[in-house]
C-alpha cells in the first residue's frame, strides 16, 4: 500500500450554525493527482485552508504530509506548495526576482536557488526573459511560472486552487503536462477545478455538495456509478442536489 499524504477523518468546520465543511473523510496517496471538485460555496476552499495550515477544523482529524493540522501547522507549511486562482506572483517584479523571492522564503540556499532557477527557466523557455517584469508575460506563461515557483522547494504535496482559470485550452493542456511531470517526480497534487475535462485528467477525485463529499473515486468509477458518459454529467447529477446557494 502506498504512503498516504493526506488523511482526513470526519473533518468539519463550523461557522456559527453554518457547517461549511460537514464531516468529510478521504485520503490521498503519494504521487496521486487528486481532484477536489464542487460548485462554488460547497466548502472546497474552507477544507483546503484547513489542509494548508491556514485555519483549524472544528472537529475531526487530519494529517498532511504526516503532520497534524491542529498542532503542526508550521511543519505542514514547510512541506506544501500552494498556487491560487488569484495570481500568485508579483507583477512588478521580474521573473528572476520572483523566483529568488519565493525560493528565498522557503529557505533555499544561494547555490541551490541558482541551479533551481536555471533549470526552471530552461524548462519553461524563459531563459531570455529573466529580467522582464512578470506583468508583461502572457497569462499562460505566468501560470506555468507560478506553478514552477510553487514547487521550487520540492514540496511533498502541492495545492492548486483553480489554477487554470481564464486560460485557453492549449495552454491548459500544457499546464496539465507540467502537473503530470510533477506527479511523476513524486509530488502529490491536490487540485480544485471547474473544468470537467480537467477532472477526467485526475487519478482520483471527490465531489463536494453542501459541505459533504458525495462521491469519490477514479473518473472511470464515478462515470460508471452514475451511468454517465462524461464527467460533466456526473457533476451536474450531484451538484443539482445542492440545497445551499453559492456564495
Amino acid at each position: 500500500m502506498k504512503e498516504k499524504i493526506i488523511i482526513a477523518e470526519n473533518l468539519s468546520k463550523q461557522f456559527g450554525h453554518f457547517k461549511a465543511v460537514d464531516n468529510i473523510s478521504f485520503d490521498v496517496s503519494k504521487g496521486e493527482i487528486f481532484g477536489f471538485l464542487g460548485a462554488n460555496g460547497a466548502g472546497k476552499t474552507t477544507a483546503m485552508r484547513i489542509l494548508c495550515g491556514l485555519s483549524y477544523p472544528s472537529s475531526g482529524k487530519a494529517r498532511v504530509a504526516g503532520f497534524d493540522v491542529y498542532h503542526q501547522q508550521e511543519q505542514i507549511k514547510k512541506n506544501i506548495g500552494y498556487m491560487s486562482q488569484k495570481f500568485s506572483l508579483y507583477e512588478d517584479l521580474t521573473v528572476l526576482e520572483n523566483i529568488r523571492f519565493f525560493g528565498g522564503i522557503y529557505g533555499l540556499g544561494k547555490k541551490e536557488l541558482k541551479n533551481k532557477s536555471d533549470e526552471l527557466l530552461q524548462t519553461l523557455h524563459l531563459s531570455g526573459e529573466t529580467s522582464k517584469l512578470v506583468r508583461s508575460l502572457p497569462l499562460g506563461w505566468k501560470q506555468k511560472l507560478a506553478f514552477s515557483v510553487a514547487i521550487i522547494h520540492k514540496p511533498v504535496i502541492v495545492f492548486l486552487d483553480e489554477p487554470t482559470g481564464g486560460v485557453d485550452p492549449i495552454t491548459r493542456r500544457q499546464f496539465w503536462d507540467m502537473i503530470y511531470q510533477a506527479s511523476e517526480n513524486g509530488i502529490t497534487v491536490f487540485v480544485t477545478t471547474h473544468y470537467m475535462d480537467e477532472a477526467s485528467y485526475c487519478s482520483r477525485l471527490s465531489i463536494m455538495v453542501d459541505g459533504q463529499i458525495r462521491a469519490i473515486g477514479s473518473p472511470a468509477e464515478l462515470m460508471e456509478q452514475h451511468h454517465a458518459e462524461n464527467m460533466d454529467q456526473v457533476f451536474f447529477d450531484l451538484a443539482r442536489t445542492a440545497t445551499r446557494s453559492a456564495d
Binding site: S88, L93, F101, G107
Partner: protein, 368 residues
C-alpha cells in the same frame, strides 16, 4: 533571519519599481518646504504704507524716516490726502497708513499725550495685526529715544520681543511642522497601501501558506519604509538648514532618535489602517484624509492649540504629530536637550506600543 532579509529586499524592489510612490515620497517634502518656506510665509516684509502728514514738522519727519529705514515697510507715498489714502486701501496698493495730527510737534513738546492714527487693512486680519505690532514697536522706540534725549522724564514702556523667533520668521515654525506632516503621511500611507495591496492581489495568501510567520510579513514591510523615511527626514533637515536657514540648534542625534520613534508610531498606524481597509484606495483615503486633517489642524503648527475650544484641545492629545511637533520645536529651534522632551517621547513610545499590539492582534484575528 535569512528569509527576513529576502523579504526586505523584495519590499525595496517594490518601492523602487514604483516610481510614482517614490516621487510622492521625496517630492512631497521638497514641494512643501518650498511652499511653506517661501510662498506661505506669514511674515510681513516690505509692506507698503502711506503717511498722511499735514504738520510736516521736525518730529513727524523724524518718525517717518525711522519707519522708512525699517526693512518691514516701504513708504508708498508721503503727503497724501485722506481721500487718496482711502482709494489706495481699496485698490489694495497699501497695507497700512499713519496719519499725523496737524500739530504733531506742538503736541509732542507741550502735552504728554500725542495722538497718532494707525490704520491697517483688516481684510487680512493676521497680516494687519502683525503690521500694527511692528509699527507700534517702531513708534514706541521712537518715543523712548526722544524722551531720553530731550526731557528728564523717563517713560516706561514694554519691551516686546518674540522669544526664539525674534524677527518673527515664519519659516522657522514650518520646518518642524512639515517634518511631522510629511513623515506621517508618507510612512502611514505607504505601509498601509503595501500591505493591503498584497491582500488585494492575492499574494498575501501565498505568503501565509509559506513557512514565513505572518508577523514577520508585517515587520519586514516596515523596514524599507523606515529606512526610506530616515533618508527623507535627512533631506528635509538639509533643505531646512541650507535653503531656509533654519539650523538644528539642539543635538542632531537626539532629533534623529526622536524622529525614528515618531516614524515607528506612523508605521504602526499604517499597520492598523491596513487591517481596517479592504482596498488600496480605502487605505489611501483613510491615511491621507484621516491623517492629513488632524495633523494640519490639531498639531499646533498652523493654529495654536491654546486658542482652540476645550474639546478640540483634548482631542489634539491623541494626535501623535502634536507630540512630535513639540519635540522638534524644542530640539531644533530652542536647542533643548533630553530633559525637556522625555515626557513627549514617553507619550509617543506609549502610542507606538499600543498601536503595534492592537494592529498585530487585529491582523491575527483576521487570519483565523
Amino acid at each position: 533571519m535569512k528569509q527576513f532579509l529576502v523579504f526586505v529586499r523584495k519590499e525595496f524592489l517594490h518601492a523602487f519599481r514604483d516610481r510614482k510612490t517614490l516621487l510622492i515620497m521625496f517630492g512631497l517634502p521638497i514641494v512643501q518646504i518650498i511652499l511653506f518656506g517661501f510662498a506661505l510665509t506669514n511674515e510681513v516684509k516690505n509692506s507698503k504704507l502711506v503717511i498722511v502728514d499735514p504738520s510736516r514738522d521736525e518730529a513727524s519727519q523724524a518718525l517717518t524716516n525711522r519707519i522708512r529705514s525699517s526693512k518691514y515697510f516701504d513708504i508708498y507715498r508721503e503727503a497724501m490726502s485722506y481721500a487718496e489714502m482711502e482709494a489706495a486701501f481699496r485698490s489694495g496698493k497699501i497695507k497700512a497708513a499713519i496719519v499725523f495730527p496737524q500739530d504733531f510737534n506742538e503736541q509732542w513738546k507741550h502735552l504728554n499725550n500725542v495722538q497718532l492714527q494707525l490704520i491697517t487693512d483688516g481684510s487680512d486680519p493676521n497680516t494687519g495685526r502683525t503690521i500694527q505690532n511692528y509699527l507700534t514697536a517702531i513708534i514706541n522706540d521712537f518715543r523712548n529715544d526722544r524722551v531720553n534725549n530731550g526731557n528728564a522724564q523717563v517713560l516706561i514702556h514694554p519691551n516686546i520681543r518674540m522669544l526664539y523667533n525674534p524677527s518673527l520668521e515664519g519659516t522657522m515654525n514650518f520646518v518642524p511642522g512639515v517634518m511631522a506632516l510629511v513623515l506621517l503621511l508618507v510612512c502611514t500611507t505607504l505601509t498601509a497601501v503595501s500591505i493591503v495591496r498584497e491582500r488585494e492581489l492575492g499574494t498575501m495568501e501565498i505568503l501565509l501558506v509559506s513557512p514565513f510567520k505572518p508577523v514577520y510579513v508585517l515587520l519586514s514591510k516596515a523596514v524599507p519604509y523606515f529606512i526610506l523615511s530616515m533618508v527623507n527626514l535627512s533631506v528635509i533637515l538639509l533643505l531646512g538648514t541650507y535653503v531656509l536657514n533654519v539650523p538644528v540648534k539642539g543635538s542632531v542625534s537626539l532629533l534623529l532618535l526622536a524622529s525614528a520613534l515618531f516614524i515607528l508610531t506612523c508605521l504602526s498606524m499604517g499597520l492598523l489602517i491596513s487591517t481596517l481597509a479592504k482596498t488600496q484606495q480605502t487605505a489611501m483615503i483613510i491615511s491621507m484624509m484621516g491623517m492629513m486633517l488632524p495633523t494640519v489642524l490639531l498639531t499646533g503648527f498652523m493654529f495654536p492649540i491654546e486658542n482652540m475650544p476645550v474639546p478640540l484641545q483634548v482631542i489634539s492629545n491623541i494626535v501623535p504629530s502634536r507630540w512630535y511637533y513639540l519635540i522638534t520645536k524644542d530640539v531644533m529651534l530652542k536647542g533643548l536637550g533630553f530633559s525637556a522632551i522625555w515626557k513627549e517621547l514617553l507619550v509617543l513610545g506609549g502610542m507606538t506600543v499600543f498601536l503595534l499590539l492592537f494592529s498585530l492582534k487585529k491582523f491575527n484575528n483576521r487570519l483565523s
